[in-house]
Symmetry: C2
Subunit: 139 residues, 2 copies
């Protein structure tokens, strides 16, 4: 059990887009080159992010992607769900039993992780990165 690579790529892309100057769009070509990925493959990941409302896309010349304005507060969980879907990690094999204690523990532990992931915003770590960068430059 592990996250798909697509989730990894999506997180990197989102951080990059947030780090970018606002209102500037960037094409899938650049994003792919930045991560050493095939543009068509990354395109599918970006489409998922778009459908989840995390980024906006405009086709045509001078088009590309940019961060969706409305959610200035995009959490890690938002990105993960956009890629992995929102199904549970643990699902009962055969006879689903209402109020089962095994399931309860598994779900609760998963919720713990999701809780943490929903509280962590991408913008926070981007800001930290910029601080680190500034500190380095002032050396």
């Amino acid at each position: 059990m592990k996250y798909s690579n697509a989730t990894n790529y999506a997180l990197h892309t989102m951080v990059y887009l947030i780090w970018l100057p606002k209102a500037s769009t960037v094409g899938v070509q650049d994003l792919a080159e930045f991560q050493k990925l095939s543009p068509t493959y990354l395109s599918k990941i970006l489409t998922k992010l778009t459908k989840a409302g995390l980024i906006e896309s405009t086709p045509g010349a001078k088009g590309g992607y940019k961060i969706s304005k409305s959610p200035k507060e995009i959490s890690f969980l938002d990105v993960i769900i956009a890629i992995e879907g929102e199904s549970n990690l643990f699902n009962c094999s055969i006879h689903h039993n209402e109020g089962c204690l095994i399931e309860k523990v598994m779900r609760e532990s998963e919720d713990n992780m999701k809780e943490e992931l929903s509280n962590r915003l991408l913008i926070d770590i981007v800001e930290k990165m910029e601080l680190q960068k500034q500190a380095k430059e002032s050396n």
Copy 2:
């Protein structure tokens, strides 16, 4: 991303073994029938649990499996690691960066889940199940 079915089977088996009267062994045949599984397949799962030290196996006539005496306190996490291994959910694709903030968040959230899973003991839910059963019978 989801738990493998093997983890599900392993959890059911462990709960069943703990629920069983102590020191009584049960063969893979019975355990497989109980879960509607092929014995040979379940056998592999049981071998993993044995190697992890969670259960003991004795071959030969009147042999079978029983819960390992020493750890009366087997956590959910123990079972999960025995099956899924102990690799991280999130691992960096290409250029691993020391002190990366993305990785940090992902690891911390995962640790949250594992923390919860390590605090939950199988024996606890077996005891709860027995209480539920008694309550039902006294009706």
